[in-house]
């Protein structure tokens, strides 16, 4: 019985150690790699530091979309109160339009431009990302049923 108890104790200790190691890695990983969602007003309020990855969401400002010579594209993201210039070099989802909701991941550069590395696909012309709805509500520009 004693040998068995010892074995169990060793097993439990090993499990505990493994669990602690995993917990450590997970906490560290979460600390390093979570991306916050920010609205243009948040950006204007200096809630985002330069070079830190985050998700920016809002509406594509009317009249702001300009194509470059190559695949690059410039536009502004607005929540009605503030707007942020954004650069993107890539393929846009087909439902990317002025006045429509958009969510992009990327970072702010030194000039205060949001450099997107991904503009999230939107597959439904009626769909509005819930974070964007939330951001518009906070800036007071959301009307129920106005999507």
């Amino acid at each position: 019985m004693n040998a068995k108890k010892k074995r169990r104790l060793a097993f439990a200790a090993a499990l505990l150690a493994a669990g602690a190691a995993v917990a450590g890695v997970v906490v560290y990983g979460l600390g390093q790699n979570t991306m916050y969602f920010r609205s243009p007003s948040d950006v204007a309020a200096k809630m985002v530091s330069e070079g830190v990855a985050f998700r920016l969401g809002g509406l594509v400002e009317n009249g702001s979309v300009r194509h470059g010579a190559g695949a690059e594209i410039h536009f502004r993201v607005t929540d009605g109160k503030s707007s942020v210039p954004a650069d993107f070099n890539g393929v846009l989802p087909a439902l990317f339009r002025e006045g429509q909701g958009v969510v992009a991941t990327g970072r702010m550069d030194a000039r205060g431009t949001f450099v997107a590395n991904e503009v999230l696909a939107k597959h439904d012309e009626k769909y509005m990302p819930p974070e964007v709805v939330d951001a518009l509500k906070r800036s007071g520009r959301w009307q129920e049923g106005a999507r």
């Binding site: 190691a21 790699n33 979570t34 998700r55 890539g90």
Partner: protein, 642 residues
Amino acid sequence: MIGELGQVSLCFALALSLVLAASGLMGARVSNTVARTVATSSAMGLLVFVSLAFGVLTYAFVVSDVAGALVAEHSHTLKPLVYKISGVWGNHEGSMLLWVLVLALYAAMVAGLKRGGERLTSAALGVQGLVAAAFLLFILFTSNPFLRLDPAPFEGAGLTPLLQDPGLAMHPPMLYAGYVGLSAAFSYAAAALMVGEQGWARAARPLMLIAWIALTCGIALGSWWAYYELGWGGFWGWDPVENASLMPWLIATALLHSALATEKSGAFRTWTLLLAIAGFSLSLIGTFLVRSGVLSSVHAFASDPARGFFMMVLIALAIGGALALFAWRAPTLQGGAAFAPVSRESALVLNNVFLVASCACVFVGTLYPLVLDAINGTKITVGPPYYALTFAPIFFALLLLVPFGPVLGWKRADLKAGWRALYPALGLAGVAAVAVLAIVSPRGLAVTGAFAVAAWLIGASLLDIRRRKGARASAFAAALAHAGLGISLLGVAGTTAWRSELLTVMAPGQTAIVGPYTLRFDGVTQEKGPNYVADRAHVALMDGGKVKAMLQPENRFYPAEGQDMSDTAIRTTGLRDLYLALGDDRGGGRYALRAYVSPLAPLIWLGGLVMALGGILSLWGRIRVKEAEPKPAAPAVALAAE
């Protein structure tokens, strides 16, 4: 009219599931043979009535009977037949009905296979009946697929175009057959706790295997679909919905290994029970994540708070009940058998520790954003870098250790002999590492390591196959499954390290080079499909001055649904994919175009298939053994050869 038939069938199914629960649990008592007979027949009856309800719904979708609210919302007369059928599960209500259908199917298999003692089978049926009753109530009260529309609309609203795809038509049934199938292991485990029977792991094994095979195929299908459909060339995005299917797979894999030890040597009795409960619990949590609308994704059809709440209560009851039963009864079970520190059991402990740890990483990464949002409304996402930092190293360590399991004997083993048996695989791993470092570029530490480990896995599997030459087919199951891991790893490493990408805006007649390929853009034409309109790009793959092949990626717009979708063009050699996706219109006939050359990409899904094949071989062995045995409860002599 037909809708009422479906409704009535569902009510009958609910009644039968209640009878099944009551009679099954009563039949767990020693003397109650009548209750056992009732339980067996009500399990069959449950399957009949749920199938009938499902059949009625399918019929309504096929003939586009738009008087039913569900059909009106999700079907369309112009849709091709196969997508009318897949439309049945392309929505919340129908997919929940499919969920219950799979549950009933597994209940019927438990009843039909009659593996394990009579009391065990009966109690397992009772638990299966309880789960079925709970989900049938959920369907009838919050997600009824047979609600009617008055007046009937002229035309249905159609199915999300993303789901109008052959890969995706098969993906949900496959995935459900997998993760709802884990209910059988869950029910057997709960039953074993109730009646105190030790042989449950052996009884449940065929159904565990079926569930694992289906889950493996389902995940592979989903990943393949994401690759060719979403237009960004990725095979895994660590999306919460993908994670919801990965977590049960990791636990089911751990369960298959741990149950084997329980069966062969009596080790880890209580741990295996806990894994069986955890596996299905994660399936339930996954169902909740995907179906309740807490996540916004292509999978979230519904965002009705009543549904989310109802489902949360159901799941809390199921998981809480099972864990309470475990806490109460597990101490009364006999402790596990002893084994030496170097033995196959120890290898399986490591297997389980790593699998559960990797699952824990995925669990936290998936749920943390939801919890944070619920607590203080902070919206965050946890992206691929988190998983690269946590999941990847743990899983990598697991892969390193995989080859040791099969070369170590049960109870007590010789590590040196095990090492010696693996020397050739080690040599192969070295060759692979040197080859990557010497020949290909770019060469990084990660890709070198990945190739070495893949060669190590595949080499060890080949050695295992050679060692077992002449044995029954099922003896090769583990070798195949482990080789499948290596093959998938090759695919993942190859595409991650050596993918070339081209993003460009092209005018008609222009050429571009990506990897070893030269592409000429020949412009875009407007095409009309059965229920969509498309911009179809014509891209010539050039070989010298000649056109070798035409690739035609499309952007489709589905007017009925008001949605758009990309249709990529992929040309594969089996070892390398050329992948084209059409981007947005940049005016003047110019279009954005995205091209990838992904070396070894097809191996990712081939590996999944090989793994599933390993599972099938093992299952085949089980069926054969059962035929040979006069009594299913006989001790595991026939398998001692493994």
